[in-house]
């Protein structure tokens, strides 16, 4: 429809105007006065407004990164971190995904590609995402990311740096990744005239990591739980994009404080499960209400498994290389099976739900191995077919039957 296309193009044009976004600061000041001590929801809202201002206002260089590229690298350079895959979840939750999908479609991006990638490509073609100064990606956890970021580089005409992640976690692998990160840092320093300061960033990551550990210890003891069941998967920006910033630390402090005060819903009679992969963001309410209706309790989510190693200011690139190699736990079937079994034991869960993503060959490829190993250990597994962002590849009725049957099976 030509009218709609013109509207989208105009919107894209205005989204690249940085100055109007900077006026959001007035609104932020008003919010700070209104909520001097914000609760978790108010904090999340004000964070979103500030992010929109800083990303679209381009007060600092915006650097895009793939999901497993350590955010500390970007925060240490005093740049704004933007994770297009994470932003994709938000776009889908807002019900706006069909516009970028249509744009990607029109530009020959196959529907068999990962919808996180297709959506970000569409958002870029529409110029709806904030303009990047550079792109950073790793080959972990999927090779599709390489092609995806190369495309983004062509669309935005900015440099793209790809870190090759070996499949083994060894001393040599750490040095190999660290060398690549150092080279990228050096190139970016010259190109964007930035310097890297690690101390504060690493301190914040360390403190945030301790809070996450405290939170998980309470979840293991079943002192707290998330409601609705997959709520924690909405907090991903704080586990990834904001890690190494004051925002993540403040968020987890609030989350822990509010969780302490919350009454843990009784687990009695509920099927306690571990959730693997992400979730369909576009049907949020339906999924959560179905999980609640059928009596599921999510005890832990795979993507809340963040790096817990040391942060060494003396050897920043080796530290971040270790964090990059942490993604092997998502990438390799043997490691994925081992840690899933550990969570099942540690959290006292009855089974696993794995929410497949259309086009995610990386996770679907290991479905059989995962199922076989977990079943052999006595744990039932449910694989939910579908897509996290594109409703065209999702059947709500099939989801209902599978969830209810799995619940009945768990007893």
């Amino acid at each position: 429809m030509p009218g709609k296309d013109l509207l989208l193009k105009t919107a894209g044009y205005f989204l690249q105007w940085r100055y109007p976004f900077r006026l959001l600061k007035i609104y932020e000041k008003w919010l700070a006065k209104r909520w001097p001590v914000p609760n978790l929801a108010q904090f999340s809202y004000t964070t979103t407004i500030r992010e929109i201002r800083e990303l679209y206002g381009q007060e600092k260089p915006v650097i895009w990164a793939s999901f497993f590229f350590p955010s500390e690298f970007i925060h240490a350079a005093s740049c704004k971190a933007f994770y297009p895959e994470i932003a994709g979840g938000l776009i889908a939750a807002l019900g706006l995904a069909h516009y970028p999908f249509r744009e990607a479609d029109q530009n020959w991006f196959s529907r068999d590609l990962c919808s996180y990638h297709r959506l970000a490509v569409g958002m870029s073609l529409l110029r709806f995402f904030p303009r990047p100064a550079a792109l950073l990606a790793t080959t972990g956890i999927c090779q599709g990311t390489v092609g995806f970021f190369k495309w983004l580089s062509l669309i935005w005409k900015v440099p793209c740096y790809i870190v090759d992640v070996p499949l083994q976690n060894s001393k040599d692998a750490v040095l190999y990744v660290a060398r690549q990160l150092e080279e990228i840092a050096s190139s970016l320093s010259r190109r964007l005239r930035i310097t890297f300061a690690w101390e504060d960033v690493f301190h914040l990551s360390r403190k945030t990591g301790e809070l996450i550990e405290e939170l998980e210890a309470k979840r293991r003891k079943k002192e707290i739980s998330f409601s609705p069941p997959t709520k924690n998967l909405e907090y991903l920006p704080y586990y990834y994009q904001f890690m190494g910033s004051e925002t993540a630390l403040a968020f987890f402090e609030k989350l822990l404080r509010e969780s302490k005060g919350a009454n843990k819903s009784s687990c009695a009679g509920k099927a306690e499960i571990i959730w693997l992969h992400l979730k369909p963001y576009f049907i949020n309410q339906s999924l959560d209400s179905l999980l609640e209706e059928f009596g599921f309790e999510v005890l832990f989510e795979e993507f809340a498994d963040v790096y817990k190693g040391e942060y060494n200011v003396e050897r920043p690139f080796e530290t971040l290389a270790r964090k990059v190699l942490h993604s092997l736990r998502f990438m390799r079937a043997d490691l994925r099976i081992k840690r899933t079994l550990a969570w099942l034991k540690g959290y006292g869960a009855q089974g696993v739900i794995h929410c497949n993503q259309w086009g995610c060959r990386q996770s679907q490829g290991m479905e059989f191995l995962l199922r076989r190993s977990l079943n052999a250990a006595g744990y039932p597994v449910l694989f939910l077919d579908g897509d996290h962002l594109d409703r065209n590849y999702f059947s709500l009725e099939q989801l209902k039957t599978r969830l209810q049957a799995f619940r009945e099976m768990l007893g």
Partner: protein
Amino acid sequence: MVLGIDVGSRTTKAVLWDGKSILAFRIEPTGTNMKEKASQMIEAILKDCGLGSDKVDKMVATGYGRQQVDAAKRVSEISCQAKAIHFLFPKARTVIDIGGQDSKVILLGSEGKVLDFIMNDKCAAGTGRFLEMMAGVLEITLEDYGALFNLATEEVSLSSTCAVFAESELISLMAGGKRRESLARAVCFSVAERTVSLIERVGGQPPFVFTGGVAKNRGVLQALEKKLKTSLLVPPYPQITAALGACLLG
């Protein structure tokens, strides 16, 4: 007295159970209004037996449209199938259920407990709907598949797994001079192949029981038996097993 109603995507089935045996059952097309169809079926089956609704102690709903039924209990068709098949064939270990819009393989443990299950993905291939679409192209009825299967002399295979692609592949095979019976046989084998892949994925073991509307299709039954190299058990009325299971779970 328990009334089990299975509101499927293509047909609705109702079974009236007195605690020992089936008093009556009905199978009718679901149509467009699931809620209304369920009410009509309940009314009709009670009329068949000359009973009033006050005689029904419990009503259990299952199937795609189970949420549309004002029942005391709603159970997934997977648990219902498992319960009914264990009741009918206590030694059965695997249920192959092919309905109008989906296919399922259910592994049974002792007492009819579901050990594991798998459903087809979003694609219609390997379901009753696929057979209907291909029957439309071949200009045959669903009942013809069985007879044509045995008349086929030539081995033809369909390579497409997508229902729409399979349709165009059939048309081009017809244009290439392939005989209708060979193509009907190829369609049955295509469904069987999809089903066997599900069975293998979930680790299905004999004895196998075949249920759902497609179990009445002699062509698919023979193709499955050839692929699995074993004979399949088929209940006398394979379409009503989920509704029977709903009664047994009531």
